[in-house]
Symmetry: C2
Subunit: 203 residues, 2 copies
DNA sequence: CAAGTTTCATAATGATCGGTATATAATCAC
DNA sequence: GTGATTATATACCGATCATTATGAAACTTG
């Protein structure tokens, strides 16, 4: 009994690489947002026709979710890695510098796909918005847990709580992404990061 | 020769109040963004028909600009007032608390119209986006100037520059607006503000 | 009253939106 | 070869987009 894993595909073979097409779709969503990206924008960038897109990815919303998965897997991996840093300050530094490096890249869109997908929008994008907000929430909860550890380890000043510090750092990261998306230079973003690190609270 | 100022209006009188209609339009743009707000959304909220809207405001883009003017005049006035505060720290406190009070209001949309209008978008909204970004830039330049004053007054730590501090505070305010727009509670926003003030750099 | 002017409501414009029906082309198993 | 299956390309679908043409209604002036 043969396993299905190596079964030869039936029918006409696909003429494009799904992963490459998805990467191109990600770039479009990243630079134009979910609503701003039309199917024409997407198919043009992906180099495929509309029926091919629908056959391979379902529909626009499903395509966005797959693109968002790819984005978080490839571009936001520094965020979960940062939590392994030894101190709360090191966590913050890794997050800020990671965001800076990503936003300062010249060959990729500016701004953060999560941030631009979580702002006000028309009705068609509300479920997308809700999902992105939920994903951010779980990221923030992980950050809060990490800062609670630091709190117990006595790293934080007495009057400072883990939730407040996480919301504070999250706001800085969101602002960094917004400013990058609005065209800030690398130097400006560096100044922002250095200032943030300079004021980071130590006990 | 009579002056035109007190001339009686000819023709059929307008049946709606332009200012009230503009205020309603602002609420729609504020909660849905420029692209997310359809003309049907707008005319429904304003209680007028499409031709009336075009006769009174020009077109969708001109209506948005007038709504943005109103927004900055009525909702963002605390920002310019904050610059009069005696110290850099007081400026920051007024800005953060002013943003908090505005975002915590229950009877108005959450988030900041400037922030949601400056993110990635489709082609039709690019000129809007550019204008909003330009307006924010001039606000930031005023903040930088105010912090340069503080720098000369010796208020800032030696290794800290006005531009970096302004970008830093601006990022916090942007993050605050984003989190408010994403549904953060007043308590969460308060914690964010208190943490920001607690870490504010003093010489 | 009638002429002139402006706003009103209705309905239509062409363009674009996301999504598909249809037919053809390329591969498989037999 | 034939039949089944899947991907391709073209063209189309109804819905919605911002904008406007049209004509009746409401007002001022003469």
């Amino acid at each position: 009994m043969k396993l299905a894993i190596c079964s030869a595909p039936k029918g006409r073979p696909r003429e494009f690489c799904v992963d490459e097409a998805l990467a191109q779709a990600l770039r479009v969503f990243w630079s134009k947002g979910y609503e701003g990206a039309s199917l024409t924008d997407l198919t043009d960038a992906m180099g495929i026709t509309r029926p091919s897109l629908y056959a391979a990815f379902g529909n626009k919303e499903a395509l966005f979710r797959k693109a968002l998965d790819l984005y978080e897997r490839e571009k936001l991996c520094y965020m979960s890695q940062a939590l392994d840093a030894p101190t709360a300050r090191d966590v913050a530094e890794r997050l800020l510098r990671g965001a800076l490096e990503m936003q300062a890249s010249d060959c990729e869109p500016r701004g953060c796909l999560r941030v631009i997908s979580s702002v006000a929008c028309g009705v068609e994008a509300e479920s997308i918005r809700d999902e992105v907000i939920a994903r951010r929430k779980s990221s923030m909860e992980a950050l809060i847990k990490r800062f609670e550890q630091a709190e117990e380890a006595g790293e934080l000043p007495d009057h400072m709580d883990a939730e407040g510090l996480a919301a504070y750092l999250g706001a800085l990261l969101q602002g960094l992404s917004l400013q990058a998306g609005a065209g800030a230079s690398r130097e400006e973003l560096e100044r922002l990061v250095e200032t943030s690190l300079a004021v980071w609270p130590t006990r």
